[in-house]
Symmetry: C2
Subunit: 412 residues, 2 copies
């Protein structure tokens, strides 16, 4: 006997996102996603760490949260407190930190604890796609603030806050990536951070500081975190080990006042984030983090050079970009006639994946001919080959760049 | 200069759960939570596994999802497909499986993909607290179906489905724990499973089968899963490694038709579940799972014996319970005058944590003098001591059991 298949269609609630497509593998030349350099995973160190920590305290895996409680593995929170004090000037202790399953869960907890449908959030005009899609799905209005080479523009923020206030709208928070902005790669100066905090205080709008990429800067010390500079505790600080150690380890954290953390904890009903991953990081990081990261960033910088050289060689002046201050991505402007949403599809068919600008911006027109290229994961050779394929596709679809032989080289 | 602290209070949306309290550590005698026996964590095997898998393919940690795509680490999905075919009769392949961060994320994805505020879900009258709290927070109506020693009663289910239909209410799903029901510890027979599937089909209500505890049965083979018996694909099957290996590893899975999985994937925006934990399980389980689990269950059975003996010794006939068919918990009925919500508080002050019945039931009156005791985590000695303390607290608060010297021993 055969029966008709059960039809789930009548059960879907309104507003359910469209179904995902079957995964068909990574593109041959993949310039998307926060993936890192496989050769830079500190494998020997991680293996030593996992052996040591499991031998010593592996039996605690029998207990949810490793008997460290719902805020996460205590030794890792101790390391993060030390690291944030040293690198970001944040004066916090382990009890001020909530471990989460990657910074994406941090964003979810921020949104669930602060937002309702119809609320307004302020973001950088060009910003992290995952933040935008989350806000959009929640029915939250987004106000995008233009950026310059110092990050979010404070004149534009002041104007937007004033405009919203005149309309009787109280934004729920300002989402900002001050240190290696995603996708533009800028670092906000300490002076501008002070202006941002002053505006936050003036308008009583808290700040959500996404510091995911802050470990990956090419040179110099990073400025103090907004969280460190705030005198009022108005900053929720988010960090991650995805970019500094390995993205497949889903370990991020939130630093916030207890008034906020206690609300987030009530919403974090997942019985704790992955324990083994927290244990490995807690064991590996204290002795190795400060030597691993500079080595990692040197390698990333070298790949960025390869990417910028390849763009110069293949696109010439048709590809405009600023040299980012760190990170794993480059934000590229192509000529206005290029529609990067269309380019994305055509490139994918040719084996090259890119992030089209409109998915990373509140201003689809401004971002329509822009794209984000991630350079940490592909090899130097793949970067060169992938950019060549991308240029060929772009030329075929949009007539730019001109034939390779003719490209005008960009002065840098 | 000092500034007043930023006040987040005006920003909380309506319906936000109450803030969590500061964690104050595990109770000295902890009979709560799905924690397992620390001595039964297969530590040597897990250490060997993590070494092997990291040496072989640790560099894939640089890529989200380990280059296995968003459904999770492919070798682990292969193992689960093999295991489910062998143990549960489920005919599925790796592509039918979605790895999640523990079965709690599975419940969240089920709820997000199927439910809206005001919907109705059918559950067992006594059921998993985490399922009830999730439904309650979503503003979903819950219809509880009484249980007997064979699990959910089909006469009562038929009546409830009929009643709801007459009221024009189409329930979104039937949530059921057929194999080692939580908290009652029953196993639903194959015949009753067939009845359940017939009712599901008759009323076009899909089934969510939570099979978290199905590996932990004392004797005999488990019946085929509901998912295996369904001819129409109307069953969403949920499983976990929390009970069979270690709860702090946050690894669960969903088996469902692609029409459902594709909706859940669109909602699973966490960039993948923890990779290292999936890798370790995929490496450890294929050679060891079938020898580890019987050893684990023998140890759990011994602890259950200790718990039942301790209850007999301390409570006598005042504590009524059925010998569960497996699992890690015992559902206990105390005399009607005992309010287990109050008992829970008083016991906690004395160092004993228990799950009060009303938190595990849709019928607060029925469950008011019931409690759930988890026995996997405490040692035999802690079980004996903890039950003695609990009896003392209960006697002091409610006058039962009578003085220890006088308790009447229960015949079993």
């Amino acid at each position: 006997m055969t029966s008709a298949l059960f039809d789930f269609t009548p059960l879907w609630p309104t507003g359910l996102p469209a179904p995902a497509a079957r995964w068909t593998g990574l593109a041959r030349y993949s310039f998307v996603g926060g993936n890192n350099d496989p050769d830079q995973v500190p494998l020997d160190g991680l293996i030593d760490a996992v052996n040591a920590v499991l031998r010593r305290e592996g039996r605690t895996l029998a207990t949810y949260g490793l008997a460290s409680g719902p805020q996460g593995y205590h030794p890792l929170r101790e390391f993060i407190a030390t690291k944030l004090r040293r690198d970001a000037g944040i004066n916090c202790i382990a009890d001020d930190i909530l471990m989460v399953s990657g910074s994406l869960q941090a964003l979810d907890l921020v949104n669930q604890s602060l937002l309702a449908r119809g609320d307004t959030v302020i973001v950088e005009r060009d910003t992290y796609q995952g933040a935008l899609t989350r806000l959009s799905r929640m029915g939250v209005n987004v106000t995008g603030i233009p950026l310059d080479d110092g990050g979010m523009r404070m004149d534009a923020l002041a104007e937007a806050l004033g405009d919203l206030k005149r309309c009787g709208i109280q934004p729920k928070y300002i989402y900002v990536i001050p240190t290696v902005q995603n996708p533009t790669g800028t670092i906000m100066s300490e002076a501008r951070r002070a202006e941002l905090l002053a505006l936050s205080q003036e308008y009583s709008v808290p700040i959500v500081e996404d510091d995911c990429y802050a470990d990956l800067i090419w040179e110099g010390a990073r400025p103090p975190a907004l969280h460190a500079m705030s005198r009022t505790g108005a900053v929720i600080h988010i960090g991650s080990f995805s970019k500094s150690i390995a993205p497949a380890l889903r370990v991020g954290y939130i630093v916030a006042p207890w008034a906020v953390l206690s609300r987030m904890l009530a919403l974090k009903t997942d019985a704790g984030s992955g324990a083994l991953e927290q244990m490995v990081l807690a064991e590996y990081c204290p002795p190795h983090f400060t030597t691993h990261v500079p080595k990692l960033t040197r390698g990333l910088r070298a790949k960025l050079e390869t990417l910028m050289d390849a763009l110069d060689a293949q696109f010439g002046t048709a590809a405009e970009f600023s040299d980012p201050k760190g990170g794993i991505f480059l934000w590229v402007k192509l000529p206005d006639q290029v529609d990067t949403l269309k380019l994305c599809q055509a490139a994918l068919a040719a084996g090259v994946s890119i992030n089209p600008g409109p998915e990373w911006s509140t201003d689809k027109a401004h971002a329509g001919s822009r794209l984000r290229l991630c350079f940490a994961s592909p090899s130097h050779e793949q970067i060169r080959e992938g950019v060549a394929v991308l240029a060929e596709v772009c030329r075929k679809e949009f007539g730019v760049p001109a034939r390779i032989a003719n490209v005008e080289r960009r002065a840098r």
